[in-house]
């Protein structure tokens, strides 16, 4: 049949054309994966190393200038020795475990409360009008302000600390979700509607996944607030028998042990950086898989 042959010839040409164009659209990969990984690692590392060298150098200069007595401001090396020795003791590790446990409990609770609150506020207009700006107001409130009330409510206890940690972190997490939901591109919602999604399905398949980047940045900020509130809380609310970071640090101050205080400051800083790295990794992963990062 002549018409069939004509048709299949047309079919063949267009198939070739399609795959040819598709092939041309692919970006050629020039570097090997390892090469890229190494250069990226180096690019991320050297500024940090340089910054550290500058800070320690300035500290050493300040120490040598005898601005303060050595027992008040110890040399970097003294603090390093204390850190290395102390890090090997069970007290040190246990303090970190206790503090991290508190942080994680408070953070988990905040994520649960903040998510529910965020979705509720984004979904119901009157609720937003009622407490939308209150949430942002709470976010700007220094969490240390809550401690007197927390102590009156819960006495000197774990609950008092937890209360303040949750109050500190919830607004950020809720705000992350709220702004995420507000900024879902209408085109995605329209596709959801065309595909026949309604109510819960639309939330499950479109709106909540679409809020992911904003949710993660809310989590990151929420963690920062939780961690800060926790440190403030541990210095103020020293629960008997719980040798947390804050409690041990307060103890070191009472013994005029500056090196120990600095050891704890460095420890807390390092924990903060490590956690931030985790959030950054999550954030990068999302941006990369969504095609939001510039490097491919």
């Amino acid at each position: 049949m002549p018409t069939e042959t004509v048709k299949s010839k047309v079919e063949d040409t267009s198939r070739t054309w399609v795959s040819g164009l598709d092939e041309l659209e692919k970006t050629p990969i020039t570097e090997t994966r390892w090469g890229r990984f190494a250069s990226r690692l180096w690019a991320g590392t050297w500024p940090k190393v340089l910054a550290l060298v500058i800070v320690i150098g300035a500290w050493q200069v300040l120490f040598l200038s005898e601005w303060k007595a050595p027992w008040v401001l110890p040399a970097p090396l003294t603090v390093w020795q204390d850190l290395v020795e102390y890090a090997a003791t069970p007290d040190y590790l246990q303090a970190i475990v206790i503090t991290l446990q508190r942080a994680l409990t408070g953070f988990a609770l905040s994520v649960a409360v903040g998510s529910v609150l965020g979705i509720a506020v984004a979904r119901f207009k009157p609720l937003r009008a009622a407490i939308g700006s209150l949430i942002t107001g709470l976010q700007t409130m220094p969490s240390i302000m809550w401690f007197p009330l927390a102590i009156l409510l819960f006495k000197i206890s774990e609950s008092a600390i937890l209360f303040v940690v949750v109050l500190g972190a919830v607004p950020s997490i809720a705000n992350g979700i709220i702004s995420g939901i507000d900024y879902v591109p209408p085109a995605w919602k329209r596709v959801g509607a065309v595909l026949g999604m309604k109510g819960f399905q639309l939330y499950r398949h479109v709106i909540l996944p679409a809020t992911l980047p904003s949710f993660v940045s809310g989590l990151k900020q929420g963690w920062a607030f939780a961690w800060r509130s926790l440190m403030a809380g541990e210095l103020l609310v020293i629960v008997a028998g719980q040798g947390s970071i804050g409690a041990l640090m307060q103890g070191a101050r009472e013994f005029n042990d500056s090196a120990r205080v600095l050891t704890w400051i460095i420890t807390v800083l390092v924990i903060g950086i490590l956690v931030d790295t985790l959030f950054k990794a999550a954030d990068n992963r999302i941006r990369k898989s969504w095609g939001l990062s510039t490097d491919r």
Binding site: V10, E11, S14, R15, W17, V18, S19, L21, D22, E25, P185, A187, W188, R190, V191, A193, V194, L195, G196, M197, Q201, H205, V206, P209, A210, L212, S289, W290, G291, L292
Partner: protein, 263 residues
């Protein structure tokens, strides 16, 4: 789905799968003296299996018309009838979900309809084969070109298994070469799947290249000005003389309509 095109009588079309019948459709935005009439008494019968292009300048409410047919917007007056709900729809932007792979983006349409996991996968891969993107099933949308993304969006629309496909300037943002290619692809898929297509565009040649019928709409408010039957053999080429000739005729009518709004 196995409707033969020519044997359907017009009075039966409202009840036939794949037919779309618009009767005196009115769409107003707002109320009172400030209200804007986007569509004013649009009547149109699209027979099953036909490819109908809606053509008009800005402000003719062509996209509004599709939203009404899709049920995305409420109608102010008249009737829209089509037998199988819901209809499938595609937009100028592919609006693929970046958190899903290409395959996942097609599967989601099946998932919403309650298709089981294994069947979902099988059917989605089949549809990707239809749009010739099998090799890209596990890529993310951002790794694809604009034309490829529109093909994924087409596969997702096909996954709705509706016999009516609404397309709102689906190739408007693509370069000419990719657009030509997608015209061929769409024509092939339209025939294979025996779809009824309502295709909105402001590109006259595109309308003539693709349509069995070209419906010319007036602007502000939108009304049907004229319906052109395109009796040219397929496959057509957008740069062929007969296509260009009819396009020129329609363009003149369109210019006249646009000129009416000059002050």
């Amino acid at each position: 789905m196995t409707q033969t095109r020519n044997e359907t009588r017009v009075e039966d079309t409202a009840r036939a799968a794949g037919a779309v019948v618009l009767t005196d459709v009115v769409k107003r935005y707002g109320r009172g003296p400030g209200a804007v009439t986007a569509l004013d008494g649009v009547s149109l019968t699209v027979e099953p299996g036909r490819f109908v292009c809606l053509l008009g300048a800005s402000g003719c409410g062509k996209s509004t018309l599709l939203s009404l047919v899709a049920g995305l917007d409420d109608i102010s007056g008249g009737k829209v009838e089509h037998v199988d709900q819901p209809v499938a729809m595609m937009f100028q932007e592919s609006a693929l979900f970046p958190w899903l792979t290409v395959l996942g983006n097609v599967e989601i349409a099946l998932r919403v309809r309650g298709v089981g996991r294994a069947e979902r996968r099988r059917r989605a891969l089949e549809l990707l084969e239809t749009v010739r993107l099998t090799g890209f099933a596990h890529k993310r949308p951002h790794e694809l070109s604009g034309g490829m993304r529109q093909r994924v969006a087409l596969a997702r629309a096909l996954a709705q298994d509706a016999s009516v496909l609404l397309m709102d300037e689906p190739f408007g943002a693509l370069d000419a070469m990719t657009r030509d290619l997608l015209h061929d692809e769409l024509e092939r898929i339209w025939r294979e799947q025996n779809l009824t297509v309502l295709f909105v565009t402001h590109n006259v040649r595109e309308a003539v290249r693709l349509g069995d019928q070209v419906v010319l709409l007036s602007s502000r408010p939108g009304r049907v000005l004229n319906v052109y039957d395109v009796e040219l053999d397929r496959p057509r080429r957008i740069d062929s003389a007969p296509v260009a000739a009819l396009a020129a005729e329609i363009t003149d009518a369109l210019r006249e309509e646009v000129g009416r709004h000059a002050n």
